[in-house]
Subunit: 280 residues, 2 copies
């Protein structure tokens, strides 16, 4: 059985499979599924995951470091991912991808680019030295954390049906005008269907929480991402992931948000950083 996330990020190669020596570029059909959005625009980590699935097909390796630049919002609907291999080495392979939608039904010119992605792909290794100058965020047990974004009235947001995020108690207070005063948002990440989180799933995790800046109390209304980079640092062990996102510097209409994702074995499995705009 395919998990919801695997299904929602599935890509289908166009045309017949080419010979290996010609496999340095390919186009894929995919669908931006409803229910992975915030107010009708698909979540940025979800879009990155779709593009990465296509890049995995071309590089034949899982993501190691990927950077997406966000060009236009994406409603639910069909999309195309064009992937070109940049370089394939012994351990790593680098590729570039473009996720596009036909926007004629919405009055556009036809071919609208949504995100451009540059990434290097490689299996995780067990080699070498170890240093851990950090620790997972100190969270209450999953059961004692709080479901995010539950509206006071109206339907339950669709993303809550797909993800089983739980926030550290208090980190959700910004919704009622009680921000913590610190640019930090922490909690647990899991898929609602309890499927394991793979390397592509970590790209979604990196963008699945409410913006940390909402806990600063600054008058920032929304936080459109310009660029998101995720480093995959390990394959998550089974079980919910502990996540923390921090914003330390807001100025010039911009902020950074740094994320850490830790697995059940207390291992750092991803680091993320995004640069976002701060419209009032």
């Amino acid at each position: 059985m395919t998990g919801l996330f695997e299904h929602a990020t599935a890509v289908q190669r166009r045309g017949t499979r080419r010979a290996v020596t010609e496999a340095d570029s390919a186009s894929f059909d995919a669908t931006v599924q409803p229910g992975w959005d915030i107010g009708g625009n698909a979540n940025g980590g979800y879009l990155l995951a779709i593009a990465a699935r296509a890049m995995v097909e071309v590089t034949r390796r899982p993501p190691l470091t990927v950077t997406a630049h966000y060009l236009a919002p994406a409603p639910a609907g069909a999309c195309t991912v064009d992937v070109a291999l940049v370089r394939a080495g012994r351990r790593t392979a680098t590729a570039i991808a473009s996720l596009r939608q036909d926007d004629r039904e919405r009055g556009g010119a036809g071919d609208r680019e949504i995100i451009r992605v540059l990434g290097t792909f490689a299996e995780q290794s067990q080699d070498g030295s170890e240093l851990v100058a950090g620790a997972p965020p100190d969270l209450p047990p999953y059961e004692d954390c709080v479901e995010p974004a539950l509206p006071h009235e109206g339907p339950r947001p669709a993303l809550n049906e797909r993800l089983a995020v739980r926030l550290r108690p208090g980190d959700d207070g910004f919704r009622d005008g009680r921000p913590t005063g610190t640019g930090e948002m922490a909690g647990w990440f899991a898929f609602a269907d309890e499927r394991p989180v793979d390397a592509v799933g970590l790209l979604l995790v990196a963008d699945a929480f409410a913006p940390a800046v909402f806990n600063t109390g600054l008058p920032v209304a929304w936080v459109p991402t310009l660029e998101l980079t995720v480093h995959v640092r390990g394959v998550p062990a089974p079980g919910p992931l502990r996540c923390v996102f921090r914003t330390r510097f807001v100025h010039g209409g911009l902020l950074e948000e740094d994320g850490e994702v830790w697995d059940a074995r207390d291992r750092l499995v991803a680091q993320s950083r995004q640069l976002a705009l701060t419209p009032r």
Copy 2:
């Protein structure tokens, strides 16, 4: 008069200038100059700066967030930068670039890609909210810091002629087998010719210090960069810049290095993060 860095990163557009409506891609000639290298291979931040100069020509804006993936080392010599505009909006413009060298003289097949770069370019803005949850590194005055990488014998490294980096006393002890024990490297950055550091110069700053991991005492012999992302967060005020680089997590043959660059007015002007390999 052109500064040494401007000269060393100069790009020359190939062919005649096209009309604005056709200016969405262009090729540039440039030169990887000798003396911006470590042991014969050009510094990664320097290579990124050359590519960014060409991207500035196409986007007509300074860099805001740029990511480079490092594909092959570059010796001194001619190079080509191909730039394609991805999207130009009102404030930002996104472009992709490929820096290549002809490696036939070194027994290669001809056209070797050195770095692939994806970036969004925009002028800095003064708008909006402010949060500063951080401070510049606490450094002794420039004059009391120490010149890095001076060999015990032999010629002075060429990069020391071009840069006027000064390390926090003690942070250079790793060269004599006395690492501080903390994955941190801090100091001052300036050009030797005292030219101001612009947004493109900040890309060099982000890769101009010895790796922070050298102060951990771990058996890491060198630190080849896979990917480097720099966020330009301000235009530096005149004067030397205070920089700090930190590595907190080393495992699976990889490390991250996070950088902060602060100007003379105590303003954060750049953040950087790279993912690098950790061969013994």
